[in-house]
């Protein structure tokens, strides 16, 4: 037995600090609204986050998906070690997910009424969302993809 106490890892300490730092604007947002923590306005309802998410989040995910395609579609087995995948039996989901994983979390704060988020998910399950996207009089505007449903 070494009497040494196990130290709190420095990396984890930094990440914990960042999480606590991020909690402050989240609390302000749920007390004073989105206007208090962002510079958004009716004239500019979408700001930095959406472009950051679009260009960085998707770009990160794209690298993962390319790697997954290289390993699983083109059968370059020697790279299998860096794309272990096999989440839920879907090969290659994991590397792509490293880019996607960070995305829904800021969205929850960014979307105004996230307590209603169940609605689009329920709508997807019941097929209502597909009606909304492709049914009725025509196909719906979605220039940014399924952004609202995250």
């Amino acid at each position: 037995m070494s009497g040494q106490k196990r130290r709190f890892p420095i990396g984890l300490a930094i990440l914990t600090f960042l999480v606590l730092l991020g909690l402050v604007p989240i609390i302000i947002r749920y007390v004073y609204g989105l206007g208090a923590i962002s510079n958004l306005s009716d004239g500019r309802p979408w700001g930095f986050w959406i472009s950051f998410d679009l260009y960085c989040g998707v770009a990160l995910a794209a690298g993962g998906f390319t790697l997954a395609a290289w390993v699983y579609l083109f059968h370059r087995e020697k790279y299998h070690a860096v794309a272990p995948g096999d989440i839920d039996g879907i090969p290659g989901l994991y590397p792509g997910d490293t880019g996607f994983a960070g995305r829904p979390r800021p969205t929850l704060v960014y979307l105004a009424c996230n307590h209603l988020l169940e609605y689009p998910f329920a709508a997807v399950r019941s097929g209502h969302l597909c009606d909304n996207l492709y049914g009725g009089t025509g196909i719906r505007i979605q220039p940014g993809g399924l952004r609202g449903s995250e």
Partner: protein, 266 residues
């Protein structure tokens, strides 16, 4: 059966009674007056100001002249906000209004981006915010009343009625006094037609109205989105093909190696 409102700027005196009536009917709080250098008050639409009178200051034969324009949701015939709304919170009603259901809204603000007139406003200071815009007093319409602003207008600048009847009347007004009116009905064809239509004594560009074209804003998006299913299918087929090919190549290679091995053993 589509209710519509005709706003005749030549009859408007800028009294802003419509703004007050709107606030009263929707029970919205007032906004402290800020001096912004014009008589315009409030200076912009927001979640608590669903309509306002825009004051344009012009010089007409060396004399000062005001031209007014009432701004609110245009209640388009082909609304971009409705098409953009992913959860169907915004709906175009058969009798005219574009209504908003806050029980469905998830606050993504897509409608604000999609609106060609920049109308939907967001409650930036609320913990649980909603989108706010002119409702066309859909509740009043449903029991046969006119919108609150129309009801209160003392000069008859606002007139409610059926859309085609109002268009006929607007054309008749222009024909009767061609020197008084600018020969255009804003909203007749703008963005595919709107439920609120406008007459003005001067060109609409001078009053700050956007030239949004006559094509509904929904057309281009539909054109782009129509490509999604075939592209998706195409990608799936290509990717499956690549998977099959590379796997076959690998199998052939293994077979050839095995064969070579067997030959060597012999």
């Amino acid at each position: 059966m589509s209710r519509s409102v005709l706003y005749d700027a030549t009859r408007c005196t800028g009294c802003r009674a419509c703004q007050i009536a709107c606030k009263q009917w929707h029970n919205l709080p007032g906004r402290p007056t800020e001096n912004t250098g014009t008589y315009e008050n409030p200076p912009n639409l927001n979640a608590n100001n669903l309509t306002r009178i825009h004051y344009t200051e012009l010089e007409d034969n060396g004399r000062f002249r005001w031209v007014f324009a009432k701004l609110q949701c245009m209640h388009c015939e082909h609304p971009g906000c409705v098409e953009a709304c992913i959860v169907g919170a915004l709906q175009k009603q058969e009798n005219g209004p574009v209504t908003y259901d806050e029980a469905k809204c998830i606050g993504c603000r897509y409608c604000q981006v999609a609106c060609p007139f920049g109308i939907p406003c967001f409650e930036w200071d609320k913990p649980v915010p909603w989108i706010r815009k002119c409702t066309f007093c859909a509740d009043r319409l449903s029991i046969g009343l006119d919108p609150a602003c129309v009801n209160t207008c003392p000069t008859g600048a606002l007139k409610a009625g059926e859309r085609d009847e109002l268009l006929t009347e607007a054309r008749a007004r222009i024909a009767a006094l061609p020197e008084k009116y600018y020969d255009h009905i804003y909203g007749e064809k703008e963005a595919g037609g709107t439920s609120w239509i406008y007459l003005s004594p001067v060109a609409f560009s001078e009053v700050g109205f956007a030239d949004v074209g006559t094509e509904p804003v929904t057309v281009n998006a539909a054109r782009a989105m129509r490509l999604v299913p075939p592209v998706l299918l195409g990608v799936a087929v290509t990717v499956t093909g690549i998977y099959w090919l590379t796997r076959r190549k690998q199998k052939m290679k293994e077979l050839a190696e095995e064969k070579a091995k067997r030959m060597a053993e012999k």
